[in-house]
Subunit: 326 residues, 2 copies
């Protein structure tokens, strides 16, 4: 019967038909566990993302799924919520499931589970994060450039006090975005004073509201006139709080987001954002993973995509008479 299902050519048409009939009349369904046990691995790959509620990651997930399904593999989507403990638990579960490989957007540190997984021969592709070494695949975006683009744009608009919302110590992606912003601000203003860092609790809309409230509490002299946000959810939160407190965007405060999720363009004030090839990131990661899993002379690769600034209303002067950087 195994032959009928897996190598129908090696079986005579008569037998094939007979077996197929029996299968349908008995309602037989192949047991995937037994197949996996025998094969030693499953027909599944794991995808662990930082925040399932962030549309950036669902777009990435679509890309991963598209490639995986085309190969007859299914994708187990796991949400770490940015918490190392949840990430570790998911990775353990995926290890027990003997997944073919894992696409991972890691939390701050690369957990020991990742090392363990790789030592077992399970490919792990890092997503939206540069690889620590050349012995591993990773699909990343040049976030230093992204930060530069965002800050450069605000400097071009005349802003001289800029906030970076997202913190400098957490995820490496954020550190790089910060470095890009800091470098651009330093070059543009000749000073480090021009940059303020705000670290919200979470990289969500609520975190953005909180950060905006904190900025508005600063004395007017120190208060930035614009912000680069580490992702679009933060940017939307900042925008919401600014609107709520009747700060005009972009006239009184300009905002640049990051990721360019679809909702950025639809926001109350359409958000300027740094666009990343979201689905392409997912597709490329899945392709590298499958190539590595096939194992025949796999070459590790670390493609880095270039982000693009998409300027919209949240950062560009609508009126000729503006008073930024005053």
């Amino acid at each position: 019967m195994s032959n009928v299902l897996n190598r129908p050519d090696s079986v005579s048409p008569a037998t094939r038909e007979r077996v197929l009939n029996a299968i349908t009349t008995l309602g037989f369904v192949r047991n995937e566990s037994a197949r996996q046990l025998r094969a030693g691995h499953s027909r599944t790959i794991g995808l662990v993302v930082l925040d399932i509620a962030n549309p950036f990651f669902t777009d990435v997930a679509r890309g991963v799924e598209e490639v995986a399904n085309a190969q007859g593999l299914s994708v187990v989507l796991c949400n770490s919520d940015g918490r190392p403990a949840k990430e570790a638990a998911h990775l353990d579960a995926l290890t027990e499931q003997r997944v073919r490989g894992v696409v991972l957007t890691p939390t701050a540190d690369i957990s020991p589970q990742v090392q363990a997984l790789r030592q077992r021969g399970v490919p792990v592709v890092l997503l939206d994060r540069r690889a620590p070494g050349a012995d591993q695949c990773a699909v990343a975006v040049d976030d230093v450039l992204g930060g530069r683009l965002a800050a450069g744009h605000l400097l071009d608009q005349g802003h001289r006090r800029i906030a970076f919302i997202g913190g400098t110590t957490g995820l490496p992606q954020l550190q790089e975005r910060y470095q890009g912003v800091a470098a651009a601000v330093r070059e543009g203003t000749g000073s480090d004073e021009a940059l303020a860092v705000v670290t919200p609790d979470t990289l969500t809309v609520a975190g953005g509201r909180e950060a905006a409230a904190r900025i508005l509490r600063l004395p007017a002299g120190q208060r930035p006139t614009a912000a680069v946000c580490a992702n679009d959810l933060l940017a939307m939160g900042v925008l919401q709080e600014m609107v709520r407190q009747q700060v005009r965007v972009p006239d009184d405060f300009a905002i640049v987001g990051y990721d360019d999720i679809d909702y950025a363009a639809a926001a109350a004030v359409p958000l300027t954002s740094v666009r990343k090839p979201r689905e392409e990131l997912g597709r490329r990661a899945a392709e590298l993973l499958l190539d590595e899993a096939a194992a025949e002379g796999h070459q590790h690769q670390q493609p880095v995509f270039e982000p693009v600034l998409v300027a919209r209303e949240s950062s560009t002067a609508r009126h000729l008479s503006r008073s930024v950087a005053s």
Copy 2:
């Protein structure tokens, strides 16, 4: 060893330690396939949603995952994209994986796979959809009421030509929303003429834009002054196209969405929407599923949640001098 892992009390501390040491030094990881094969079922539930890119479903997924994880079960999230073929393929895969149960937001028709699954004794809970019979669990929202609320609100605002965007033939949820809208409009205006139905290709932002363009092509005399959209993505698309064509919202055209996703409140013009308890839907569905899977005297239930209208700017007069329904 099985005892050490699963019933540590039945084993002496010395042996336990000895085994545990061996496990760590050898890097042993339990093989989930073998466990499942022996147990006859996996420690997994399936969740099949209509559109992973719709934040409504990711919120639902969080609810499902929360309950499942608390029971030590993991969730396989599958995306049917509203296509029966994809749904069927996912259900087949879940059957082969011997999942404990499936939470499903079905496409238009209940596929034969669902029947097959239930005949095998695998619980299936329908989500955001009423059950066809009493022999099955389903977690739904009173969409007729939701439609009434949305349309009633627009009638209250003085609108006398209203569009329903979403079609009348597809998903039963949409049919119910339409029925509620139609009933309210009939009662409010005494006529069936007051309601126009627009059926976009997809229930997405792009579909909304398309629908809005179609509405704007109508001659002014027949053109509705407001729309109830079958979900918030459509509503955001309608809003985008209206803004792009310089139709003022809500002054020239009012919009009501459905689901009240988080982005609705953050839209260019904050969207009036019909709120559903998104995470609660997911939690309840997962609870019913787990109860049915436990199998001891399970009573099928069909809870129906009541939606609430959340009025925002997209439908409420900002200026005293408005000219709707003229």
